[in-house]
Symmetry: C2
Subunit: 350 residues, 2 copies
């Protein structure tokens, strides 16, 4: 008879925010449970879920994930699953009793709140904090990283830029000792899809309406169309990759509203495409040490950027030791974003 194997380390997980990303994360956790028990050899239970509109549930014995997904999608409140009363998200972050908090609440990009506060509470309580939000990265990277270190936990945010594509894990382990000098990319998939559809003959209004119909553009599309989402991503990348604190308002930002069908048609005649190009480079002469912009730019077919169409994204990183390195993500989905959070969890605990 072989001896009973030792039990797997079990992690208690909590989700703060239960929109598309939170639900996709639960689905992915269910899909991957058996795989993760083999490699890296861990188990988990979800002890807390806090939604914006359907209440909160905490149960230290583990919540029934399938049933919660079903109930939530029928519009039922989560509180029916809860073993204790929780009235606010702050209280949830305090009381959930988890080892890991996955944060994906709606966030104000001007302040990073309230996500910033939730993450701080989690880290101070000794939880690993994982966010899909750019806001806390832009507004709290240094502070939160320091608090995480003091509490011997991790603050990770892979899904905040380019969905689950491993941008930040690449920066952490792929570039040690390197000086990242500049980067460029196409980082907002909504505007890239709009521009691709305008190349195929739609007006900007029609293309926006399409993006709204498939759920990737908001009712008010200005966050994407005016370049704010791209600017927040640029600021997050400057903050982390170049280690220079940088705010969205520090980015020289022009959106795509001025790109008419005629301009796009004329570029096509020259064999080119308009792209909402994101760029940043170290510049010791500048006030903040970095110059960064988001700007519609005409790109020729010799550039890798030209071939990034629809919702795909690219980031090109230039360093003093690796020349130009590009990372391209083809047609991401909500599952991709959920995977970035799962990857952060596994990198935090293994």
């Amino acid at each position: 008879m072989s001896p009973t194997p030792p039990p797997l380390p079990e992690f208690k997980l909590a989700l703060l925010g239960f929109g598309n990303v939170g639900q996709a994360l639960i689905e992915l956790l269910l899909e991957k449970r058996a795989d993760l028990e083999i490699n890296p050899g861990i188990s988990f239970k979800v002890v807390g879920i806090a939604s914006g509109s359907h209440g909160r549930a905490i149960d230290p014995r583990g919540l029934p994930m399938q049933e919660i997904l079903k109930a939530y999608r029928k519009g039922e409140a989560l509180s029916g699953f809860s073993s204790l009363e929780v009235n606010t998200s702050e209280e949830f972050a305090h009381k959930c009793g988890a080892d890991v908090l996955f944060e994906s609440t709606p966030v104000n990009y001007q302040t990073g709140q309230p996500a910033l506060e939730y993450i701080k509470i989690a880290l101070e309580n000794g939880l690993h904090a994982i966010t899909a939000n750019k806001g806390p990265v832009v507004h709290g990277y240094r502070d939160l990283t320091k608090i995480a270190r003091q509490n011997r936990v991790s603050f990770l945010f892979e899904s905040s830029v380019m969905d689950g594509a491993p941008v930040f894990s690449l920066a952490r382990t792929g570039f040690p000792g390197a000086r990242i000098q500049e980067f460029s990319g196409i980082l907002n998939s909504t505007t890239n899809l709009i521009l691709s559809r305008m190349e195929n003959g739609e007006t900007q209004e029609e293309a926006i309406a399409y993006a709204q119909s498939i759920g990737i553009a908001e009712t008010d599309p200005s966050g994407d169309v005016d370049g704010w989402d791209a600017a927040v991503k640029v600021a997050a990348l400057v903050t982390v990759l170049m280690d220079v604190p940088f705010l969205p308002q520090d980015v020289d930002r022009v959106g795509i509203r001025s790109l008419t069908h005629d301009l796009i048609h004329d570029a096509a005649e020259r064999g080119n495409r308009w792209k909402l190009l994101c760029r940043a480079r170290l510049d010791p002469e500048s006030a903040r040490g970095v110059l960064a912009e988001v700007k519609p730019t005409e790109i020729g077919p010799d550039s890798q950027l030209y071939h990034i169409t629809g919702t795909s994204a690219i980031l090109q990183i230039k360093s003093d030791v690796l020349g130009n390195l590009s990372l391209i993500e083809d047609s991401p989905s909500t599952k991709t974003t959920a995977y970035g959070m799962l990857a952060d969890f596994l990198n935090a605990v293994t």
Copy 2:
């Protein structure tokens, strides 16, 4: 008065192999010394260098790197710098007294020797072993990784595929819990350069002669032209990324000799390019669980692969959770390869 800061942790380094890559590594270490003292906050000295043709030097007090580079390039023997006698590379690996061994000797791709043996000695003696060679990865990945783990050191090999581009560190931290299902790429820069030059009108012989003149093709170009180098890289990637032991001879391999100027011209007429395409995919039906090939393939302009010209390289990875993710390295150099080894060192010790 502020107190004296504690001394930085100092690492003793040894280089086994002192060709272009070894010399570029010494240059990079010199260039980066001051940076590394600040971040990640380490210092180092080189205590041993073993060359193939100019002897070996060991000095526990640290070798004078600038002087050694100069002497070596004048054709002088390294033994003049040595504080003890060392007669073989095995003896060097035993006696160098380092914390880290950088291995870049010429290697037999059929057996992985003698690099495999040197690395084994180093790991068993408690050194981190870092190699730029594909041979030990293909022939020893599981064993060497196990020996490394037993001795609480690292066996790393970032520079063995795509120079210093962070392929393996991406696979280590970018895909936790993921199942890599297939990959494709252009991984041999010599044949890619040859094909690019043939598109511009050269014959294959002329293009090979050019690649030899700039030092990227061997006097006997068959390792590149017949697809062996690409096949070894595919085998290394299957072995590590898919965790399936795989040998170069398991790769279905066709080189580029049959690609005449006419074939290349005809493809161009159709708007396409010939590329030496590397591919592998999980296939539970197949004998080894993976099917892999290296084969000239006509590629259209809609593919990212089409735009990889000259010595640039691309790897596209498809997994169950991230869709298609591409990593592109533009025009690498020997410095890039040296950086891959430096990155391995920093990832091993920090």
